[in-house]
Amino acid sequence: MAVRESSRHLARSVPRAFVPCNRTPAFLGRRNASDEAPSRRLSDQLDELETASSLSTTVPEDVAKSFDPVARSKGRKSQLPRSRYQFRSPKYDRGPLHPHQPPLPSDPSSRLFVPGPFSLPRAQQTYNATVASDILTLCYVHTPPGFKAPVKAPRLREWDESSPYHKNRPLRGPRGGDVLRLLRKPIKFNNIPEIERITIHSYVKGAAQENSGWLHVAGMAVQAISNVRVETFKSRASVATWSIAPGRDTVAVKAEMYGETMYHFLSKLVDVVLPRIKDWPGVKGSSGDSSGNITFGLEPEQVALFPEIEVNYDMYPPKMIPGCHITLHTTGKSDKDARLLLSAMGVPFYGKIVH
């Protein structure tokens, strides 16, 4: 008995298609004697169908002539009421287990949706048309067929098992310091370095020393320059001489630009602002964090050269215009790649170039 009966667990584990179905299918080509019963007779149900097709009916000529939906919608004085149901994204995110989930930020109905891009910036066109292929050509390394690259030592070294305490230890860092550099792969068509984002950061010490007006002016100036809303940050370090305590004083302003906004800013910076700086030697050749991000600073007088600030110069108290640090983040894995990209985009470098 127990052997013959299939277990409940088996029935659950077997996919639905393999489970034997006890119900008779709705319609089959096969005829049974019970089909002729009065409740199930097919011919009775067929009688209810209309014989004539609705497609064959003819429309009167005047009705067809008067049908002009375009003219009707144009002749309408006010708009039609919108449809009864309109989706509004929930105002609050109530966690992953809540039944009302907000849509993704990429969904136009989301509250976090940012439309765009609306233009193809000049710097981006330059990058796509010339710079990308130039970099690909410059970084090409030819290896003859059959060439095998020498095997490199592992980046994280193993412990020599000289002590029993070496067992299960985490691997050692590289020789000569604990910094594990980014892995630089050969540049192919799919990893050509490009500019990822640009950050404008401004540390305003006057905001802690005097009043918050410094921070407001700095925020307005950076927003005007960058076309994006700024974020404010509190100090993490304690600077006794400026009477700045960590966590208490809001001292910094930052704007991050991506995509379209970033390229607009870059072309404005390179084409208009940097050439106007008096006796500017360029970006220092040793700048960079050795992982493809290059930073340089602008003095307050140089920030005032941006056309957005210049057009409305009287709005800003002249003393309070902030200096800023501009970081160009690239997807290049080393500073050499980043400098190659940025110099192709028009950022000049001077001095000893450190890679």
């Binding site: 105002k91 966690g95 233009s119 000049r122 076309n227 809303r229 404005k268 957005e308 057009v311 000049p348």
Partner: protein, 185 residues
């Protein structure tokens, strides 16, 4: 009754923890903090609509007449750049036009030069004069000079070829020196 009290207690503990967290709330801080991880958040976070400053389309005209549009917060429809990449020396290091900028609007430097000569700054005109005088005087010695010049030319060609061969053969050999220098720094 006991059920109610237990529920309330749990609710208060959670709210207190959230309230202690909320004053320092900023999006970046929230992302960074790894200590506050709850499987089920009882509070709701407000989804703020992202704010963007209004931007205008502006036509930027560079000094050489080329123009492009970009989006800025500046309401001016046209921006004419007087100083840009097209006429600054840093972006055009080989441009002779930008190199020797001599501000001589009143003509004073020119007047000085006319009066006291130009021996220190203009070498090209002097060589021209020298060439012309030589042409005038040395007609007879021209053939000899030509012969010598041809010989010198052949010699120079040979030398250049040697140099090129040297360059090719010694291509990768000075690399270790360079790396040694790098290591010193």
């Amino acid at each position: 009754m006991s059920m109610h009290t237990s529920l309330r207690r749990s609710a208060t503990t959670i709210s207190s923890s959230t309230s202690s967290f909320l004053p320092t709330q900023s999006p970046s801080f929230q992302l960074k903090s790894t200590t506050f991880i709850c499987s089920q958040c009882r509070h709701a976070t407000l989804l703020r609509r992202p704010k963007r400053p209004y931007t205008f389309t502006q036509l930027v005209t560079l000094s050489d007449g080329s123009a492009f549009t970009h989006r800025t917060t500046s309401p001016a429809p046209v921006y004419r750049a007087t100083r840009d990449t097209r006429n600054s020396l840093l972006w055009n290091p080989s441009s002779s036009k930008l190199m020797n900028v001599e501000e001589d609007e009143a003509g004073r430097l020119a007047a000085f030069r006319a009066r006291f000569g130009r021996s220190w700054d203009a070498s090209a005109p002097v060589t021209d004069e020298a060439a012309s005088t030589r042409d005038a005087t040395q007609d007879a010695a021209a053939k000899k000079a030509e012969k010598e010049a041809a010989e010198a030319q052949a010699k120079a060609d040979q030398e250049e070829e040697d140099n090129l061969l040297d360059l090719i053969s010694s291509f990768g050999q000075d690399e270790p020196q360079v790396s040694g220098k790098k290591k010193k720094y």
